[in-house]
Structures are given as structure tokens and as C-alpha cells.
Symmetry: C2
Subunit: 196 residues, 2 copies
Amino acid sequence: MSKGEETRKRIIAKAAPLFNKRGFDGASMQDIVAAAGLQKGSLYGHFASKEELALEAFDLAWAETCKARAGNLDEAANSVDKLKLHVENVVTQRPFPGGCPLLNTAIDADDGDAALRRRAQKALQSWNGLLRAIVQDGKDKGEIKSEVDPEYVASLIISLLEGASFSSQLERTGRALLIAQKHLNAYLEDEVRAAG
Amino acid sequence: MSKGEETRKRIIAKAAPLFNKRGFDGASMQDIVAAAGLQKGSLYGHFASKEELALEAFDLAWAETCKARAGNLDEAANSVDKLKLHVENVVTQRPFPGGCPLLNTAIDADDGDAALRRRAQKALQSWNGLLRAIVQDGKDKGEIKSEVDPEYVASLIISLLEGASFSSQLERTGRALLIAQKHLNAYLEDEVRAAG
């Protein structure tokens, strides 16, 4: 990796928590320069715009979040167990500094930066697609009841986990996340898993 | 109402959608002055700080949201039907411009303005308290199963509705909210309502 690439990566790594905590408007280029230990003005040698840096910062934050939430799913052989492990990951893993980058970026960019908003939409679609694929695979293998709708399961898991992450973060307790996990585990066992 | 009070109310009404859409940092005092049709500088005759205005703007946005979500609950006599009506309100009512003010303000203020964050915490507690009280009332009247935990029901409803609002807003479809409603209605009928 060239020195320029290294610097670029370091800037993105320092910028990602700042954008995730403070939002696109709230994170100033000056703060990012300071966090990366650079001279003012040198940032634009690496990024054409604040938007370009914010997009790369989101990609990094989301990639790390996905790794923490889904990186170990192959450890579970059964598709229902994969879904339960995924829920457990979201509930127990330390979130990226500032909380879920998808939630933060989507809310921040909802009436803001259009490119960031599209990035968040794609992230949601890809998360939804991952869960749908696990459910479809489980149906194909007979591990999941044939009448289960993959879209319903994926949407329910994502909505409940994101909403509970939001409540838990606001309350500074993990209570809402634990209730979400209990509910999803019971739902997955009772209504999704095929009779053995 | 004095002319000063009228002007103050008009400023808050114009500021509330701007703060809700753009966040505390993103909504500039200049935008608010322009939206309220005032001269620059005249705002600080009515509000000591941007924070004071943002707090009042949140209170207005949240009061309108609560009215839309819970203003008609007395129309349902049974406590389970009240909960279902509340869910229906959240799913079908047009949200305050910019989406749920609680979600927006909580995310925006999470690493930002401390007073706004406390206001969002209180709003979440009061929403949770409203739902817990309905469940407790239903238990007392024998409409709700005795083993049902009011905190579990309140947290589940709020997390799922807020998460689905987030997904629906990002996707620009109502799909996640309709799935949340379907799930909550089935849960309330099957696991919450006492056998008739």
C-alpha cells in the first residue's frame, strides 16, 4: 500500500466514528483533520468532497457492523439457528461507535445528502436479502415451514432489532434489545422452524 | 394571546418541521427566520438560544405525533382493541413532516445536544408508560391474560413500530409497517387477549 493509500485509509477510519456520532452536517472537516492528525487543507488532496469521504466512512462502518452481526453465521448449520445467532449477534455485539450506522445514516440523510441516503437504502436491501436467502434456503431444506414468507421474516427481524437498538441506545440500557431477542427466538421456534 | 406570543408560536410551528427534517445542526437559524418570514436577528428576541427553540419545536412535533397516534384510543372500549387501534394509527397516520420526531431527535441528539436527548428520553418513557398502563388496566379487568408483562408488550410494540417506521421511510414504501401491524395484531390476539 502506498503512503497516500495508507493516509487515505487512516482518514476514513478516523472519520467513520465522527460521521456516525455527529451526522454529515455535525462532523466538521476540521474535526476529522484533527482526529487524523493532519494539516488543515490536506484532506482535499485525498477526497474530492466531504460527501466522498462520508460515503467511504459509511461503507467502512457498515462493513464492520455486518462482520460483527453476520460474520459467524456459518457456525450454525441449521437455517433457523443461523437466524437466532444473527439476532444474538445484534443484541450482544458492541455496536460501531455511535450506534448502528444504518439507522444513523438513514435518519441523518433522510432529508439530507442523497448519495448517502442511497447508500443506506442499499445497505438495508442487502441486509434484507441476506435474511431472505437464509429463510429460502431453510424452506428448500425443509428446516423451515413451507408457508413462511421470507420477506415477512426478514422485515420483522430487521424492524424489531433496529427499533430495539434505537430504544436501548436512548435509554442507555439493553432492556429493549433483550425483549426483542426473547420475542424473535420464540417466534422463530414456534412459527418458523419446521416440526422435527 | 399577545402579538409577541403569536409570533413565538409561529416561529415554533415553522421551526418544528425544519428541525425534524434536518436535525439540530442541519437546521440553521437563518432558514428558520426565512420560513417564519422574520427579519434576521429578531429570533433572539423570542428565544434565548437555538437550543431553547429546538426544545419547543420538539415538544410541538411530539405533541402532534401523540395526538395522531393516541388521540382516539378512548373509542375502543377493550384494552386489547386500544393497543390494536394505536398500532393502526402509527401505521396509517401521516407522520409529522420528516418522520417520527422521537426517532429523529433521539438519533440526532444521541451524541449531540444533551437537553434534546433528555427530552427524547422522556418522550419514550411517556409512550412506554401509556402502553404499560393500557396493558395493566386490561389485566385488572380480565381482558388481558394475567401472565402478560406490561413492560414486554410496551417495549415490543414501540421497538417494532419505530423500527418499521425507519425501514418504511428509508424504502419509501409502507411494506415494513404493514408487516409490523400484521405481526402485532396476531401477537395481541394470540398471546395477549384473555380467552373470552
